[in-house]
């Protein structure tokens, strides 16, 4: 099972496995000799794009990652921010795009499993998850299958482990026909003093493996290893898709948190994610400036005859590697026995700064940890894509506009578009209430979850994920700024102040200069928006190679943002609460139809210019919302996004338990009706409040310098919007509630 049976390594072998000649030479330089096959596997996986961030690293370092709240920024398993009372929030977002395209249920399920481990490996108990999904066009033959599979996979894992899925984002576009996106976000809570890091500290300490046994699954996962060296039967033995086991993960979660409570027992810990045992062992050694020695004969295995290469690169799920204080091995094993988990000490921390791996009594790998962990850095060529000039030159208003009498029908059409329609079909399959902390669940702008302070009183966190990738396609810089702003606004309208964010940057191949240009523009937008809003990036993920047959996806820099709300009872939701409330619009109406849902639904186009974000106006609007929420002046608040004012007003009217109509005028101005109704200018919020509070509300808006226009009053069973739209709420509701189901059933 050892080196003896492994193939000879040559430059050619490296090449067939995706290693460039330059990388191969660099490896030879580090080792000073030809590597063993297992060693080649270590380099290949650690130097893969997924593990080493080789194409993105030099740009990521410019992100704003510091701030008063930041305890641990990027570089750890997840970001850690202070939320007061001696507590921290730990969160991150991860992609599981390719596995989900191959096997939607298991791919999505194991994506959720992976992000959960990233969070609890740091000592935090996961309290909420979100997911951001992108699928191909609804009419694509595979779309219903993929949607159903991914949604039930996310539910299957999250529901079982008992972490509520409180929100998310889902959209459709043909650019995802051959490459869907499944991004999973999880947030956990820990005590400030209870954070664990992935460090193999303390020479002589034991390396504890626990969780599931290692199998031959997912060996090709992280490294995209070409399989030319293997015959068909060995290929058959190596499923690239893993099956998730949420039950074992639940045991792993509870066991980890219990181990961590024992003072001084655990020195460091890291889950086995991409590149499995390799990445956890190498990264933990390198972070501590130490070495590790592993004996693979001691690794719990699911099947006989696994090679060292296979054991090191297996991506079997639900496994952890921990460093245990020497002399306390028995204590750790006894605790894991209670949880029925496989566990074994498989090695030790050394002072050699090398990763030494033995199998069958022989050394099969002996490599320095640091260069493996550091990986590579590329400054790949960049070029502004040629399509931009063409699409940006399109004038949305040059297309035929509906006659005034058809604007109601246009609204109905947009409401039933799966991008806009109610996502209830999705989130009804997610347990969004387990853990009795969901104050505002899916179906409003941001989710609000309760966190108990040590004294038992309640505070709240707001959570949201968002990204309009059409805007990013038209302008990656502006589009990314818009995504960050929309997240912060979604939090603000719910009463939560933005604190920090994580990202999941989904792009096509970095080997294409156009993609790299988009990526760098997007990062510039992310940095600028974060700096001006004062919201640091504390963790994130880059997913490249999202393309099939040379067709890349739209740049999709998904943003996951977390905010705080002192009293969750003061959370605000989007739907109108009753008759007789005053409805007003905060922000400015400008003609922004580029990349709009209107243009896509009515004319099949993704074109024009992305809306322009005025960050100063944005801040004035969100600040107004926060003050109004804090003073308890709001009955409802909803930000305007896809479908603009008309869609937002309809959502306010129909998304509560009881429909509430409204009679509204359009704000004064000379916009053409389609732009006034369906334009997607940012920094706008529709609020409602009791007439008795009108003066107070106007004062708050004036103090913050936010433009505000009174539009009308709630009541009745119809929604009237200006002179041309007048529809029963029941009719709007029917279009909106059935639009999504039509895609999947």
């Amino acid at each position: 099972m050892s080196a003896a049976r492994e193939p000879e390594v040559t430059r050619e072998v490296g090449r067939t496995q995706g290693m460039t000649d330059a990388e191969y030479d660099q490896m030879l330089g580090i080792l000073g000799r030809t590597p063993t096959f297992t060693e080649l596997g270590l380099f290949m996986s650690m130097w893969s794009e997924h593990c080493s961030y080789k194409s993105s690293r030099i740009f990521l370092k410019d992100l704003p990652t510091t701030g008063a709240c930041v305890v641990h920024g990027p570089g750890e398993n997840a970001g850690v921010v202070d939320i007061g009372d001696g507590q921290v929030a730990v969160f991150k977002m991860e992609s599981h795009n390719h596995p989900s395209f191959v096997e939607p249920y298991q791919g999505a399920a194991t994506g959720v499993g992976g992000i959960l481990r990233d969070v609890f490996t740091m000592g935090a108990r996961p309290i909420a998850s979100l997911n951001a999904l992108r699928f191909g066009q609804p009419s694509h033959p595979r779309t219903p299958y993929l949607v159903s599979g991914v949604v039930s996979g996310i539910g299957g894992y999250g529901n079982s482990i008992g972490v509520p899925t409180v929100g998310g984002d889902i959209a459709f576009d043909e650019c995802y026909d051959g490459n869907i996106l499944v991004n999973a976000f999880t947030l956990g809570i820990a005590e400030h003093t209870g954070i664990f890091l992935g460090r193999a500290a303390g020479v002589g300490n034991g390396l504890l493996y626990f969780g599931s046994k290692t199998g031959r699954d997912g060996i090709h996962g992280a490294s995209l290893l070409a399989s030319a060296e293997f015959d068909a039967s060995s290929e058959e033995k190596r499923p690239t898709v893993q099956v998730g086991d949420p039950f074992t993960e639940k045991l792993l979660l509870e066991a980890c948190l219990e181990l961590m409570k024992v003072p001084g027992l655990l020195v460091g810990i890291q889950d086995m994610g991409a590149a499995g045992l390799t990445s956890s062992a190498v990264e933990m050694a390198a972070r501590a400036g130490n070495g590790v020695e592993l004996d693979l004969d001691l690794v719990p295995r699911r099947e006989p005859g696994m090679s060292a290469y296979e054991i090191m690169l297996s991506e079997s799920q639900e496994r952890m590697l921990a460093v245990v204080e020497a002399g306390r091995e028995g204590e750790a094993l006894a605790l894991l026995e209670k949880w029925d988990l496989d566990a074994a000490f498989i090695g030790k921390v050394t002072n050699t700064e090398r990763v030494v791996i033995k199998a069958d009594g022989k050394v099969v790998a002996d490599v320095p940890a640091a260069p493996l962990a550091e990986g590579l850095k590329y400054d790949r060529p960049r070029k502004r894509p040629a399509y931009l000039d063409e699409v940006n030159a399109v004038e949305p208003l040059s297309f035929a506009q509906p006659a005034p009498g058809d604007l109601g029908a246009t609204l109905l059409k947009i409401l039933s578009s799966p991008n806009v329609a109610s996502k209830e079909w999705v989130y009804r399959q997610y347990d969004h209430m387990v853990r009795v902390g969901t104050v505002v669940g899916p179906g409003s702008d941001a989710a609000i979850v309760r966190v108990l302070r040590p004294d038992g009183s309640a505070k709240g966190l707001g959570l949201v994920v968002d990204c309009n990738s059409r805007f990013c396609y038209l302008d990656p810089y502006e589009g990314t700024r818009l995504a960050v702003a929309e997240c912060a606004r979604n939090l603000a309208v719910s009463g939560a102040r933005a604190l920090a964010l994580t990202d999941c940057l989904n792009f096509a191949s970095p080997e294409r200069p156009e993609t790299m240009w988009q990526f760098v523009e997007s990062l510039r937008g992310l940095s600028d928006a974060c700096r001006s809003l004062g919201v640091p990036v504390v963790s994130g993920n880059v997913s490249f190679y999202n393309e099939t047959e040379g067709r890349g996806i739209h740049p999709t820099p998904m943003i996951g943002m977390v905010g705080t709300i002192a009293d969750p009872a003061g959370a605000v939701t989007q739907h109108f609460k009753g008759e007789g409330d005053v409805v007003a619009l905060l922000g400015l109406q400008t003609a922004e139809l580029g990349g709009s849902e209107y243009l896509k639904v009515m004319h099949g186009k993704v074109a024009g210019r992305a809306p322009r974000l005025d960050i100063d106006l944005e801040k004035r609007v969100t600040e107004t919302c926060l003050v109004l929420a804090d003073k308890g002046l709001l009955r409802s608040a909803h930000d305007l996004s896809d479908g603009g004012l008309a869609v937002a007003a309809a959502e306010c009217a129909m998304s509560g338990d009881e429909p509430v109509g409204a009679e509204l005028t359009l704000p004064a101005g000379d916009l053409p009706p389609v732009a006034a109704l369906f334009g997607e200018a940012p920094s706008r919020v529709l609020i409602s409040f009791s007439p008795a509070n009108r003066a107070a509300v106007e004062q708050v808006a004036a103090d913050a310098g936010a433009p505000m226009a009174i539009l009308g009053v709630t009541g009745g069973r119809r929604l009237v919007l200006g002179p041309d739209v007048d529809l029963p709420v029941a009719v709007l509701s029917d279009a909106w509630r059935t639009g999504f189901r039509k895609v999947v059933e």
Binding site: G155, D245, M433, V436
Partner: protein, 237 residues
Amino acid sequence: MRVAILQFPGSNCDDDTMHVVTRVLGEDGRLVWHREAQLPTGTDAVIVPGGFSYGDYLRSGAIAAHAAIMDAVRVFAGAGGPVLGICNGFQILCEAGLLPGALTRNASLRFECRQVHVRVEGRPTPFTAAIPAGRVLRMPIAHGDGRYINDDATGLGARGQVVFRYCDPAGGVRDEANPNGSQLGIAGVSNEAGNVVALMPHPERASEALLGEDGGRQIFESLRLSLTPGRGKGRAA
């Protein structure tokens, strides 16, 4: 009152139930690990909470039904002690033979998480004694295997063992109000003696106004009342 809340590997509403018993009601809750052979001394009631015991592998509740602690629960129930099963707890109690019938895949074949309404009916039980018959409670469900089946569902109702039925907000038992295809809209049942009760909806998620609903709290209040000496025999008016 001292309430024993069972914990199986994969239980995930154990902490939630504990939260409601201790923080919301201010009572004495004890988490009891499945490997225990005994309930804590002085246990007044047992709650089998929701979750995915043993991953719900094979059949929901099937593996947990054989846990060591279930023998102690059987003895406790046999002596008339009040036992409440919630969601997975309902499935476990059916699999353990402490309640009649079985729970299978929802008719929709999908996991369903949403608010439903249930009508309280049947003979008074320790968990419904303080709730007037016919009252409608709003509580969330969150399950994939909630379709109740019993080849004597009608007889069960006639004997007063149907404790909750899915209904519309006005109390009408209709197909449209039935979230999972349960026979005759059955959402919760009791054993013949009436001391073992279980339901698919989650009263512990509907016990605090902050979470949007507190009607479920009446079920726990009923238990408290029926454990008060000299109270709780009949049904509140």
